[in-house]
Symmetry: D2
Subunit: 127 residues, 4 copies
Amino acid sequence: MNDLHQQLKDDPYLKFLGIEVDAAVDGHAVCSLTIAEHMLNFLGAVHGGLIFSLADAAFSAASNSDWSPSFALDVSGSFLKSVRPGDRITADAVRINTTKRTGLYRMNVRHNEDLIATFNGTVFRKV
Amino acid sequence: MNDLHQQLKDDPYLKFLGIEVDAAVDGHAVCSLTIAEHMLNFLGAVHGGLIFSLADAAFSAASNSDWSPSFALDVSGSFLKSVRPGDRITADAVRINTTKRTGLYRMNVRHNEDLIATFNGTVFRKV
Amino acid sequence: MNDLHQQLKDDPYLKFLGIEVDAAVDGHAVCSLTIAEHMLNFLGAVHGGLIFSLADAAFSAASNSDWSPSFALDVSGSFLKSVRPGDRITADAVRINTTKRTGLYRMNVRHNEDLIATFNGTVFRKV
Amino acid sequence: MNDLHQQLKDDPYLKFLGIEVDAAVDGHAVCSLTIAEHMLNFLGAVHGGLIFSLADAAFSAASNSDWSPSFALDVSGSFLKSVRPGDRITADAVRINTTKRTGLYRMNVRHNEDLIATFNGTVFRKV
């Protein structure tokens, strides 16, 4: 286990949400989470903020595996399908492009084979 | 207190994160949160997923005050400034446009007078 | 050549810009364009609006091959690399997801093997 | 008329499209355009790429009034209302935030009082 992986294991917000970092190396990362009742919104659907938080965890792990520290600048994405308590969902992040000071990553959130949400994110790489 | 406000008060994910809904009426909403240590990431910065979750809470409250149920379709935004544990941050959501079946809202997250992040979100309004 | 392909061949804005529609079928489309001097901005770079217009042409062709009429609701994307006059660039659009009333497509703009820009777009499908 | 304004007056793509730069100073810009028949798509609607090009002209003018050269990194936005040939539309760009190396701007496209489209854009400021 590399240093980044250990740091991510101790990430306070990921521990709070129950997010596990399955991989984080060379501009690529995978994070996963089991949906619980306290992640639902008042309509009984999983909160978009929770889905985004999982994608953002993979985004941060992938971009910091390339260059640390990297900080999110812009994000965008779409919510496609719903999930339910008990479902195990996974976000993978892949590097699309990097420049000296910026990086673009794409995050896909899946439940089994279904695409639940997809996001793009750009980081600024601090010197 | 209207029904929507009561439903939002009982929203499981908002309770879990400690988000308070200060207003939710006529396409406008305000939510707030005090940053705690467990909301930080491994770099010591507040997790982007937490900032987005606050904005998304205001987005959901505003759009469901217009038309319920409304579900997030697309989101985009930018992270501008950092905040620290103990800071009280606020997200307000305002309606930009609605059609019969869609609605566009803009969310600004602020700490005092500073703009921390800004997001746009489009909902689909279920019949 | 199907009806859509003929309609796209007669699209006034595509003719004005010199965009050719190479394919438009089953939620997928390819459009191409040769960069000319009048597509540059005052910094000597190709105008982002021109790059987006090519991607948007593929977006429109792909989404209308699935369901016509479809209209763009939300778009987002990133500019990655520069191109020069004389370069032939290509945008392909692929369907990511559709619902009864919406569709998500991803557009990649390339010059040879280089990724120049990438966009996501959501359409609303008119009944 | 400052140097930037003169440079924008000579911008090849803006001349090609018929876009006029009405103001470009201190992180703010206004551009306008009269819709012509050759800006329509095959559905008879104004092409999204044209609407975006007008917004992008204002984005570029505003960001380069702050710091030149500045180049677009990420964009996102929504199309809200349709316009017709003969309509005069205007895009204004305003600075939302700048850092040493990046800037966020918001562009609104209007026909009279109607909001036609709204975009956010982030630039990278070259040293």
